[in-house]
């Protein structure tokens, strides 16, 4: 269980079955759960920096509501996708840093 994920929470239903999915991040397989928000999933698994600004400063999850574009990633070849607006699905291909890695 990745360190940043809460193992249990009063709001989570104890009888809910966890379905595991695999997404690819910069070419590496990453295990996530069905229903996870992509930005949250990346953050929980240690991908805090999702890109760099023109001066090289890192950017990542910020507003969480699709407003600031700080969480932008390339998803299945499409650039500038706001990860905070995406739910994970099997086989998604995420490229960080404008599609060319960090």
């Amino acid at each position: 269980m990745p360190d940043m994920l809460l193992p249990g929470h009063p709001a989570l239903q104890a009888d809910k079955k966890i379905e595991h999915l695999t997404i690819m991040v910069d070419g590496r397989p990453v295990k996530v759960f069905a229903g996870e928000n992509l930005a949250a999933a990346l953050w929980a698994r240690g991908f805090l920096t999702l890109g760099r600004d023109p001066h090289g400063a890192p950017h990542g999850f910020y507003c969480g509501m699709g407003h600031c574009f700080s969480c932008r990633v390339t998803l299945d070849g499409v650039p500038e996708v706001r990860a905070c607006l995406v739910t994970v699905s099997e086989g998604q291909k995420i490229d960080l840093g404008d599609g060319h890695g960090l």
């Binding site: 499409v78 650039p79 404008d98 599609g99």
Partner: protein, 375 residues
Amino acid sequence: MIKTSDVIVIGGGLIGSATAYYLAMAGFSVTVMEARGLLKGGTASPASAGGVRQQGRDPAEMPLAIYSVNLWSSLSDELEADLHYRRRGLIVLCDREDGLAKLERRAATEKAFGVDVRLIGPDELRDLAPGVARTMLGGSYCPTDGQADPILTTAAFARAAQKLGVRYLSDCPVENLIFDKGRLLAVCSSKGETSCERAVLAAGAWSALLAGRAGLKLPIEPFGLQMMVTARRPPQLDQVLSWFGQSLSLKQSVSGGFVIGGGWPGRIDPATYRTELLPGAMAKSARLAVSAFPSLKDIPVVRGWVGIEAYTPDHLPIIGEFPDHTGLILAAGFSGHGFAISPGVGRLLAEYFVTGQWPRLLTPFQPSRLGNAYA
């Protein structure tokens, strides 16, 4: 009352700032009267596509364009500012055999002027610009064409001019020009009346209104040209691309975004400097862009803009003096393609002020060509 200068430049955009700079370099004291403020918006200077090209120009402009491209090669150094100038060539794409034949004839004319241009076939096209659609049969290619940033360039000329002592007055609209016996006497601005014997009118689409007040009817019409830019992408296109027979200009800027233009109209209101994008123009322009460069398909357009350009009946700028209005030099009406030639125009106008001889390269643009009324 403003202290007098040798020359008053009316209009603080690209042409005005460049002319002021070269005049100051030649030792003249200059005051620029800018109606609003540097790069305030709506005007042509910041809205340009930024192409620095010799290809595809009216033959009348060719020598001036070649002269200007030579100036561009050291302009960043001269102005001590990065203008994002890149000389990686321009390819005029062609997807029809009959088009290629026309391009070949045009290239021959351009070559006769001394432009380094040649026809290329599909294989060389793939080598030069691998992202271009396979439907393109080739085109004409000039390796000394290129691109630069119009905002950085306008700002650089304005700053360099000020460093040389040019007074750049903002919020200083010129309201009238006073002539006496056909000679310029004074310029009336919001700051009062300034005696002036020589002025350069470089107020773009607004030149006609001002000139009209002084009894000079200029055939200059405002028109809105629309542009779009995409999100930044890793570098994948070196050259500037245009499409023979279609309205497309495409380049990847130094910042990484793709700048798309090509002569699509936008809505304008010159009185308020307000502009409005036409979604239809964006869509049609986008369609051409994707047809020419398929990998653009998934890249988001983040912004569009419209510049108020000044068009003349023959789409050539009007540069020169008018009968019964001596002392006033017009430099306007660049009809959507003034960016590349702006350094040349500025420098040659300064040369005219020094020598009193009208530069040969500017001869085709004199007002007399427009008819008896201007002879």
